[in-house]
């Protein structure tokens, strides 16, 4: 699809004052004057040898570029999901437990807001309050874990909180619905009739039986986060895979676009596989 758009990487590479001849020469040097099937065959041939090709712009291997960007994106996705899971599951369980009460209604209201507020609006509000006014966190940037755990966490926590809001809303809603469904089952009534403490009923029986859809949502969330945190990465200046993808698309850096899309596809497949495998542990009735 990208190849069908009018962008020409050679013209972008050449700069403002380049002549048509210079652009044509660059196009030839990149192999862009060949037909699309030939270019694709070359790329496929290289791929079979483990090569994703070289970025037109950075003159670096696409694998190296992806390697440089994995850590920030993975760290942000992991912390985001961690915060989202830790916050949303208890909230969802309590809302289901107190179905129809003020807590349930408040959580549902929050989840609507969580879905509706654009990430960048939330980011700017949080930056204004927590970074500029209170001075607790930096407004931008990323520190690699190798630079120390505290700076790493200090720079990551605000973007992760920003991004986690939507996932808290999503997971809390799914948890509430699943637990609510489970709470209506006969085995819950049996558990309560046996005199089990309510906490045990909720966690051991209701939540455990509601875990499959929750795990599915968390898994999808991870997969989306790996490739879809562009706005957060932009606002907080995090050099992750999302920005790399957008930059590559805008610059028509075809080898990089192809490389990251392949990588994202692999991540989606891998995460989905893990989710499917997790069903076996979450629900012993499931067999493959």
């Amino acid at each position: 699809m990208l190849r069908l758009t009018p962008g020409d990487p050679a013209a972008i590479l050449a700069g403002d004052a380049a002549s048509s001849e210079q652009i044509a020469a660059i196009r030839a040097s990149l192999g862009l004057d060949r037909s699309l099937p030939v270019q694709f065959a070359i790329w496929l041939g290289n791929l079979l040898q483990g090569e994703l090709g070289q970025s037109y712009f950075y003159k670096m291997q696409v694998t190296t570029l992806i390697g440089q960007r994995i850590e920030p994106t993975l760290a942000l996705a992991t912390l985001t999901i961690l915060i989202a899971v830790v916050v949303s599951i208890p909230l969802g369980v309590i809302a289901a437990w107190r179905f129809g009460g003020w807590f349930d209604r408040a959580l549902m209201g929050f989840s609507v807001i969580g879905f509706s507020v654009p990430v960048f609006v939330l980011a700017y509000i949080l930056i204004w309050i927590v970074s500029l006014k209170l001075g607790w966190f930096p407004v931008q940037g990323y520190r690699r874990i190798a630079d120390g755990f505290f700076p790493f966490l200090h720079h990551l926590i605000l973007p992760a909180i920003t991004l986690s809001v939507i996932y808290i809303a999503l997971i809390a809603r799914v948890t509430r619905a699943s637990v609510l469904e489970a709470l209506g089952e006969d085995y819950i009534r049996t558990a309560r009739a046996k005199g089990l403490p309510e906490m045990r009923v909720l966690v051991r029986h209701a939540l455990a039986n509601a875990a499959v859809p929750i795990a599915t949502v968390i898994g999808i969330g991870i997969a989306i986060l790996i490739g879809g945190v562009v706005v957060t990465e932009s606002v907080y200046a995090i050099p992750g895979l999302g920005r790399l993808t957008v930059d590559a698309v805008l610059a028509r850096d075809f080898p990089t676009v192809q490389g990251v899309i392949l990588f994202f596809s692999f991540v989606y497949v891998f995460v989905n596989l893990l989710i499917d495998l997790s069903y076996v542990f979450l629900d012993p009735r499931i067999r493959y």
């Binding site: 962008g7 013209a11 403002d16 570029l65 500029l132 050099p239």
Partner: protein, 521 residues
């Protein structure tokens, strides 16, 4: 055991304190750095990267005079066909090898294959040699008036001096090694595209004695490292980071942030480039309706500068109209020939369009939606041209699509174009040879491809002429003819001050983005 422990603690403290004392200048450049070869591309970021690590034979000071930089002295033969240059002592590449005349000639040769002015200069060059390690000579076929102007040109492509082995890279291929003899050393191992570029102080660099001015004078370095933050590209996030002191310098902040930055604590605005930029509307001369000079003139008459400047810049103190196609305030600037635009109005434009025989062919204007510096210009152009009587098709796209589209010679209906708008840094348009829009060699010239034998003849004369007064007269004649032909419409000038923390001083006045002489207290 205790002693070992104490020694380890002491070592850590020493390491920590030396790191803490290191002065790091944290800069957010105006764009991303992707290409590291400033000769291969004309991108400004590649040029700025070049200024960090390479040195130049000549520089251009803030008063636009060419001054020696790596060159110590030079002589010209009476017939002006032999130029002999001597390099100043102490010049050394980052790998410890001395800079020689052979490095210089190889660098000029490669630059001369890429740069428009370099190509012009090379048409006069018969050969170059290096009779001694610190000397190089340029033999000309005939005298020309652009030698120093070309070697000292401050903007893309700048004739940076590279080691011979690097400069021998074919001009159509990018260099792989990034070693110069400039004031900073590029830390290739720390370069993360789209994230950061790091430059360490070149402790062996010997600056000139003169005060820094433009790209000339002493390149004194007062910080240990300069870090370009390439990830911070959101305009509001940039302002926030500067206000909080997380960055030291923000190159060319958005005009929308101007008032906020003026009021921000600990931040000041520094106009280090008083000549600034010139906006330009470029016509495609290959296709209707702008293959007709009278239609182009009507469009120029309609495209008054003030509305463009007011819409795009908006801050009165940052812009001015300029009747000249050459940067106002520079030697060749002149109002001659500009009456078609400067003394016109909408009524006149409408009359001119009627008289031109315009048949209602739609005008395709390319509008970049993601380049804040110019994205409002096409809307203004569309409105003014509609008022004049043109039928307009304003097409929105990302900047890189504009860049690709404008290189296409196809008819507008087949993916081509009629008008695009852009901005140029002052040195890029201050002379008939650097101003790409004045080239009129048909399909060989810059996008828009005007064809006019008279302009080309005059530009050739300009290159040959050695007398300053005569050069000025030729430059004026070129401009008069360019307005007649309607090569393009100059759309006014603006400055874009840097926003910097108040503990930063010493930014050198002049065109371009350079980081020598900058102090961080």
């Amino acid at each position: 055991m205790n002693r070992r422990f104490a020694a380890a603690i002491a070592l850590c403290l020493v390491a920590f304190s030396s790191q803490a004392q290191e002065k790091v200048l944290r800069v957010v450049p105006h764009s991303n750095l992707s290409i590291l070869d400033p000769i291969w591309t004309t991108q400004f970021m590649a040029r700025n990267h070049g200024y960090m690590i390479y040195d130049t034979l000549f520089g251009t000071d803030e008063k636009n005079r060419v001054q020696p930089q790596m060159v110590d002295k030079w002589t010209v033969s009476p017939d002006q066909r032999l130029w002999t240059f001597t390099l100043r002592p102490g010049l050394e590449f980052h790998d410890g090898k001395p800079v020689t005349g052979e490095d210089v000639t190889a660098s000029i040769e490669r630059w001369g294959k890429r740069d428009a002015m370099g190509q012009k200069l090379m048409t006069f060059v018969e050969r170059m040699d290096s009779p001694a390690p610190n000397t190089f000579r340029i033999f000309l076929r005939e005298a020309c008036g652009i030698m120093l102007e070309a070697l000292g040109k401050p903007s893309s492509n700048v004739p940076f001096v590279m080691p011979r082995r690097v400069a021998e890279t074919p001009a159509d291929r990018q260099i792989e090694e990034h070693i110069g003899s400039g004031p900073y050393i590029f830390k290739r191992d720390e370069f993360k595209p789209g994230d950061k570029a790091v430059y360490a102080k070149n402790t062996k660099y010997v600056p000139r004695k003169e005060a820094p001015s433009g790209t000339a004078g002493g390149k004194f370095v007062y910080v240990d490292r300069v870090e370009w933050n390439l990830a911070l590209r959101d305009a509001q996030a940039q302002v926030n980071a500067l206000a909080k002191g997380e960055i030291d310098i923000l190159e060319r902040p958005a005009f929308e942030s101007y008032e906020q930055l003026k009021k921000a604590d600990g931040v000041m605005l520094v106009n280090k480039d008083p000549l600034g930029f010139q906006y330009m509307g470029r016509f495609n001369h290959l296709h209707p309706p702008f293959n007709n000079a009278k239609v182009r003139q009507a469009a120029i008459a309609a495209m008054q500068q003030e509305p463009f400047l007011r819409a795009q810049v908006g801050v009165k103190e940052l812009y001015k109209t300029c009747a000249s196609m050459y940067t106002c305030g520079t030697p060749y600037a002149s109002a001659k020939g500009s009456e078609v635009q400067s003394k016109s109005n909408m009524k006149k434009a409408q009359e001119m369009l009627k008289a031109s025989g315009y048949d209602g062919t739609p005008v395709v204007i390319l509008k970049p939606t993601d380049l804040a510096a110019i994205q409002k210009l096409p809307d203004v152009a569309a409105q003014l041209l509609r008022q004049a009587g043109f039928k307009v098709d304003l097409q929105a796209m990302d900047w890189n699509t504009v860049v690709s589209r404008r290189a296409k010679k196809d008819a507008p209906a087949q993916g081509g174009w009629n008008i695009f708008l852009t901005a140029w840094l002052a040195p890029d348009v201050w002379s008939p040879l650097t101003n790409a829009a004045l080239g009129a060699a048909g399909e060989k010239s810059w996008f828009g491809w005007p064809s006019d034998a008279e302009i080309e003849k005059l530009r050739d004369q300009f290159a040959r002429e050695t007398d300053a007064a005569k050069r000025k007269a030729i430059a004026e004649a070129i401009q008069v003819r360019a307005f007649e032909v309607g090569t393009h419409a100059p759309l006014g000038e603006y400055v874009n001050p840097y926003a910097v923390r108040k503990n930063i001083s010493g930014l050198v006045v002049g065109s371009g983005d350079t980081y020598w002489n900058v102090k961080k207290n």
